[in-house]
């Protein structure tokens, strides 16, 4: 495929409760950084001519949640379209609008404030159909509990291994200046934390967070004029599985394998285990990091737990140097933040969490109960 360049990336900090900022304030903070980095504006002649936003009506409690954002997303008589799906999909769609030849510079902006709702489970409960599965009380946490149990039986992952994943995520997060107020924990604390949906414990779970992330995408020609170190999107792929949990093999990785296959094929990657310097994986719960690593073919099936133990000692990519979702990114923006982190790594702008000489990176997003939908992206630099 032709190349689309990520020219600039900006993020607010991710915090438990940004009570002092509305959605628009968070977006303005990000937008101003992006405009300063690229020198772009919203002029008709060569400016940003399309915005792809990402937010969710239920999380925002606003019908047409992007309606509130148009003022700060430059949508004055301009094209603005909202991806109401996992955030990495906004990057995929923005890249498609450029590849179509319809536009050449796109602003991508995603926001979410999870602190506004009493419980995220209340929101994800609404993703279930009102006839059969909602009355049972399912939400994404409960569905993940079922999957964690099934994956545990298959991979034999231990409580200690799960705890080490959380400890490591928080150690990495300490080097990430975008993550605020996240305490370091010990493996013992993780193993002693409250059970939320057996076997998922409180500290296995991605923390509630508020934040906003944006990037500027451009066609290859424009990207080279907007930045010295563009990051190229060379492969995308996604896949949706069936809906009812009983219809699915949720101990397996069918939709993720499909999504990854598509992205690798478009990027011309044949040996994914050796292809990447960085992999940013959306781990909403600790069990997901080894499970998705298997699905992404970074390691063989059932080797996920051992792969996690060997991180840093094997020859694979640096996995979640940002801390991952376990360090706290909003559910909706998981994959979008992963792509932003990959882009920062490839641009050499990742600060304290920089992986030396990173050339190719893998970003992953997930949505739906027990990983029903996955999205994968390959990013590279020259």
């Amino acid at each position: 495929m032709k190349r689309v360049g990520i020219c600039a990336v900006a993020q607010t900090t991710y915090e438990r409760n940004k009570w002092h900022q509305r959605f628009q304030g968070m977006a303005l903070e990000v937008l101003e950084q992006l405009l300063a980095a690229t020198g772009l504006d919203f002029s008709e002649d060569g400016g940003i001519n399309t915005t792809v936003s990402c937010s969710d009506d239920v999380f925002d409690a606003r019908t047409i949640s992007d309606n509130a954002m148009t003022d700060v997303l430059g949508a004055h008589f301009r094209c603005e379209e909202k991806v109401a799906q996992e955030g990495l999909q906004a990057v995929y769609y923005a890249a498609a609008t450029i590849l179509s030849g319809h536009t050449d510079v796109v602003l991508v902006m995603g926001h979410a404030k999870e602190s506004q709702s009493a419980s995220r489970n209340m929101i994800t409960h609404l993703a279930f159909d009102p006839y059969y599965t909602r009355p049972v009380g399912l939400d994404f946490l409960a569905a993940a509990g079922l999957q964690a149990r099934a994956y545990g039986l298959r991979s034999k992952i231990s409580e200690e291994q799960l705890a080490r994943i959380v400890v490591r995520a928080r150690e990495n997060a300490a080097k990430n200046d975008r993550i605020q107020d996240l305490a370091q924990v010990t493996a013992e604390e993780v193993m002693a934390s409250e059970l939320l949906a057996d076997p998922i414990r409180d500290l296995h779970t991605y923390p509630v967070s508020d934040g906003c992330v944006g990037m500027i995408l451009a066609s290859e020609e424009r990207a080279k004029t907007l930045t010295d170190n563009p990051v190229w999107i060379t492969g995308t792929g996604n896949c949706i599985d069936s809906f009812f949990l009983g219809d699915r093999d949720y101990a397996g990785n069918f939709p993720l394998q499909k999504a990854a296959e598509r992205a690798y094929k478009r990027a011309g990657i044949t040996d994914p285990a050796k292809a990447f310097d960085v992999a940013e994986i959306s781990d909403q719960y600790a069990y997901q990091l080894p499970m998705w690593a298997e699905g992404l073919s970074l390691c063989p099936e059932n080797a996920g737990p051992a792969y996690m133990d060997a991180l840093g000692k094997n020859h694979g990519p640096a996995v979640n140097p940002s801390g991952g979702m376990l360090a706290g990114n909003p559910l909706l923006l998981g994959g979008l933040v992963r792509a932003a982190e990959c882009a920062l790594q490839l641009k050499g702008e990742a600060g304290g969490r920089q992986v030396p000489d990173a050339k190719r990176a893998l970003a992953h997003g997930v949505m739906g109960p027990a990983g029903q939908f996955h999205s994968v992206m390959v990013l590279e630099r020259d």
Binding site: M1, D56, D57, V58, A61, R62, T63, I64, D66, N67, A68, T70, D71, A75, H76, F77, R78, C79, E80, E81, K82, V83, A84, Q85, Y92, Y93, A95, A96, T97, I98, L99, S100, G101, H102, T103, D104, I123, T124, L126, A127, D129, Y131, T236, G237, N238, C239, I240, D241, S242, F243, F244, F254, P255, K258, R266, M367, G368, P369, Q372, F373
Partner: protein, 395 residues
């Protein structure tokens, strides 16, 4: 900018539109339209690479409903995208499908717009779009009487009321030709004066009879690359996606009191016509499927889309030139006033325009060759999506 490759519309499917589709759930209702679109194109789900889905979550209170709807959309194992932009959603879905095919990432993309408004509270859902601190107390859902008041001020009460009623009755005549339309009332021109007085008032002179419905329904369109489109349609006419433009604007409808508002409709039309060399839209465009939420807005917006000043658009209505047999047919399907499943509504405009180009609109096919068709979507705070379809590969 040059489009990467041509995109053709190869199939259209619509569920029946009705106030209550209680016999089907959401995925089942979508499935009706999916099956019809596949049959219309003459392909199976195996030929579809990507499924694009959209609606407004708070109308039915289902979070990311594409996850559940996979039971009816046929998207299992495929690539998907979910895009929503309020009332414009359906048109945005068509633009997204066009972008995805033109990008070269996918050869065949299915776009699905749906809403089951019966399952929620539509006016409550729309009121919820307003800022909770500043505007929600003032919002009356989609009901705004401002345009009626403005038109009465500009053209006088008698003329304005008469024109909007002629518009309304012509739309109903069209809906009577479309078996899928939700409201088919069988109105006749001699009822106009009476209806203008007796129909229940909603806001000022915006009355029940002027206003669009709340409907349940789904619309599906299938888009394909030029090569695939020709292969699929086997010599049948193809509606080509020539160009599209989206213009959004700020959150507030009116910021500066009585200052004249430059509408996104006019802006989008100016840009689109300029880009495609259209000098006289009434002459050069054969049919217009317009997102007309009420007969007041329909009458007023014709002026914006056709770049008229003064009362030229009003004359078009008064002379009944917007009828299916007229000089400039508007909404031969009956338009939004007849059927309004919000997440699908704007796509129905594109789908109906495509059917006209294909010559396959059935009883409401306009009685002349359609070479060029215009379709509009409306949503948010006066947002516009405008698109141009043609009967020849455009690029």
């Amino acid at each position: 900018m040059k489009k990467n490759r041509n995109v053709g519309i190869v199939g259209v499917g619509q569920s029946v539109y009705s106030s209550h589709r209680e016999e089907v759930n959401q995925p089942e209702m979508i499935h009706e339209a999916v099956v019809e679109a596949l049959e219309h194109a003459g392909i199976t789900m195996d030929d579809v690479d990507c499924v694009v889905h959209g609606n407004m979550e708070l109308f039915e209170m289902v979070h990311q409903p594409d996850l559940w709807h996979v039971l009816g959309t046929g998207a299992w194992g495929k690539e998907t995208l979910r895009v929503t932009t309020g009332g414009t959603t359906g048109a945005t879905l068509a633009c997204a499908a066009d972008n995805l095919v033109a990008s070269g990432l996918h050869d065949v993309v299915m776009a699905i717009g749906f809403e089951k408004l019966q399952e929620g509270h539509t006016t409550g859902g729309i009121t919820n779009m307003a800022d909770p601190l500043w505007a929600r107390q003032l919002q009356t859902g989609a009901l705004t009487g401002m345009t009626a008041a403005d038109m009465i001020t500009e053209f006088g009460e008698e003329r304005a009321k008469k024109a909007s009623m002629i518009y309304r009755i012509i739309m109903d005549e069209h809906a009577m030709l479309n078996k899928k339309a939700h409201r088919r009332l069988g109105l006749t021109m001699d009822q106009g004066d009476d209806l203008a007085k007796t129909s229940p008032a909603l806001v000022g002179e915006l009355r029940m009879i002027h206003m669009c419905s709340q409907s349940d329904g789904a619309c599906v369109m299938i888009f394909a690359s030029e090569e695939k489109a020709k292969e699929i349609r086997k010599g049948r006419r193809i509606a080509w996606f020539k160009d599209h433009i989206t213009a959004h604007r700020e959150e507030m409808f009116v910021l500066f009191g009585d200052a004249p508002v430059f509408t996104t409709h006019r802006y989008a039309a100016q840009k689109l016509f300029e880009r495609n060399g259209i000098k006289d839209p009434v002459e050069e465009i054969d049919v217009f499927e317009m997102y007309d939420p009420s007969s007041w807005w329909g009458s007023d917006w014709l002026r914006e889309f056709l770049l008229f000043d003064g009362d030229e658009a009003l004359k078009l209505i008064e002379n009944e030139e917007i009828r299916i047999t007229g000089k400039f047919p508007v909404n031969p399907s009956g338009g939004v006033i007849a059927s309004n499943p919000i997440g699908a509504t704007a796509m129905v405009r594109v789908a109906e325009a495509a059917l006209q180009v294909m010559g396959e609109a059935g009883d409401h096919q306009i009685p002349k060759d359609v070479h060029q068709a215009l379709a509009s979507g409306f949503g948010g705070t006066l947002w516009t999506v405008l698109m141009l379809l043609t009967d020849e590969p455009p690029h």
